[in-house]
């Protein structure tokens, strides 16, 4: 029983991290129509920014996390505004641009920091014990920050004019623009928001998991998998699917063994694609 609860908590904690990543990924896809292959890159960059701030500038970890989130937000804004936006409707071009950016990021980090993982650990350690099961405090902190992040995104998307504008652009860009919205301002802002979330997650999670130039690969794969499971562009779908994936990973790692987790997930996605190709919360287009 304790084992199940403890594993469940790991699953929730993983799910919350994945949700922050997948929310950004699905926002970019839904609003800009771009598959952001650089999403994992922003995650790694967030990790390295926080690491550098702590190690070289002696900044407290909490401030380093904020700096990493702001840094990845700024880079995302500039990249969308000055590079991606010129070719925003060309799917192949945006694919190449985001993939290219990812390769530049990961090889740039490789050149700067070398292939080995730097010593970067979470400043808090310790274990919270209660009723026979225990949770590492670092996981708990990450969980709380991620949950606050998710709730903020929901508040922003569903309860502000900015969010309403983003949802309108996702629904129909031409109509929204014809009503006076400005894609030239909103697109880079939305992209920056999403990359900032990836950077924030990276800064929070890499000290617990691991930091190396290549750790963006599985992040991209997981984000992709979650967004397909939840329905491309769906915010609710990405959130639910992120927790499902977190749970499946946690339980299969504990009860089936590590490598079978990935197998279980991809089988799940395969079944989903056969049974319900639009994903859990995907939008079904009405036939004419």
């Amino acid at each position: 029983m304790e084992g199940i609860v403890a594993t469940g908590l790991i699953g929730v904690s993983l799910g919350a991290q994945y949700a922050l990543l997948a929310l950004g990924f699905t926002l970019i896809f839904g609003i800009l129509g771009v598959v952001n292959f650089a999403h994992g890159g922003f995650y790694v960059l967030g990790g390295y920014l926080a690491y550098s701030a702590v190690t070289y500038l002696g900044v407290p970890y909490a401030l380093a996390v904020i700096a990493a989130a702001l840094g990845t937000t700024a880079l995302g804004y500039l990249f969308e505004r000055f590079v991606l936006d010129r070719l925003i409707d060309d799917h192949l071009a945006t694919l190449m641009l985001t993939l290219g950016l990812y390769l530049m990021m990961s090889s740039g980090l490789l050149v700067l920091f070398g292939p080995q993982s730097p010593a970067f650990s979470f400043p808090l350690s310790g274990v919270l014990r209660a009723h026979g099961f225990y949770v590492p405090i670092e996981n708990l902190v990450v969980l709380v920050v991620c949950l606050v992040g998710i709730l903020s995104i929901y508040a922003l998307i569903y309860h502000t004019d900015f969010g309403r504008a983003l949802r309108a652009l996702a629904d129909d860009r031409a109509v929204a623009t014809a009503q006076g919205l400005r894609p030239k301002l909103l697109f880079p802002t939305a992209f920056a928001l999403a990359t900032g979330l990836a950077g924030l997650t990276g800064a929070l999670v890499t000290p617990i998991l691991s930091l190396a130039p290549h750790v963006g690969d599985p992040v991209l794969a997981t984000s992709f998998l979650i967004v397909i499971l939840g329905g491309l562009g769906s915010i609710g779908g990405a959130t639910v699917a992120a927790f499902i994936v977190g749970m499946v990973e946690a339980f299969s790692a504990v009860y089936l063994g590590g490598s079978k987790g990935a197998l279980a997930l991809f089988v799940l996605v395969l079944i989903m694609l056969v049974v319900r190709p639009s994903g859990l919360f995907g939008h079904r287009v009405r036939g004419a």
């Binding site: 949802r167 014809a178 006076g180």
Partner: protein
Amino acid sequence: MTSGREQFSREVTRAESNSGEGLVMPPGDALGVVERRFDRREFVIGTANSGGMRLEVTGICKRFGGLHVFNDVSFSISPGEVLGVIGPNGAGKTTLINVICGMLPPTSGRVLLDGRDMTAKPLHVVSRAGIVRSFQQTNTFRTATVRENISRAVRFSNGGEGVWQAIAPLIDEFELAAHLDEQSDKLPYGLQKMLGLVLACAVRPKVLLLDEPAAGLERRERLRIDAFVRHAVTELGCGVLIVEHDMELVRRLCPKILVLDSGRVLAEGSPADVLSRKDVIDAYLGTMDEAEA
């Protein structure tokens, strides 16, 4: 430059002399809408400040590389005026709307709204200024309810509660009132198209550009387009440009039409005059206009 200006002023005077009583109102003025127009606008809050504006298009050209989509097209639409643009498929009608509304920059020529230069301004700037387009397809915010669709249109164009009151008659007319809480893409095709038109109206247009509003609608539903245009003209004081293939509808609504053929203006004038010209019939109507004979 000088000759261009001369031509421009000629256009203006010609268009102004054309916009006499007979052309300003669609055939619907038999219903006495001219009288009502001024009465109603006194107390329709949202539209009180949004009378129409004059759209002038002078010598506009659009080329994609070596392909001339249209060449030297000029016309003007005064507040309350309805202009029909017809022509065979590929004549450049939709591109004309795309260029005027700012989705595409023209290769040359000018677009003026009450004398303000709108040429090559981006879509959101042009629509904020008052040139509002509708779309050929059913373009709505598909994941949102009808109510949310309308309130987005109102909000994005910085409108207030008054706009709801102003468009309420349209919502009733199109029987959208019963569907306010339905998701817009679950509506039948005809209603989705009407919602698209309501959204255009909710943006408080000064000039409306309608791209094939009747396409795909049943005969009975097409009369709603008449009601819509009449509302835009009488309640909002808009000028309206209609690109349409339905000749009956064009005859009913447009006192003046412009025929585009392979990117040039083939003819211009009243439907009766223009549609009886041999070159127009050859270019476009040919076999389909037997009813006219």
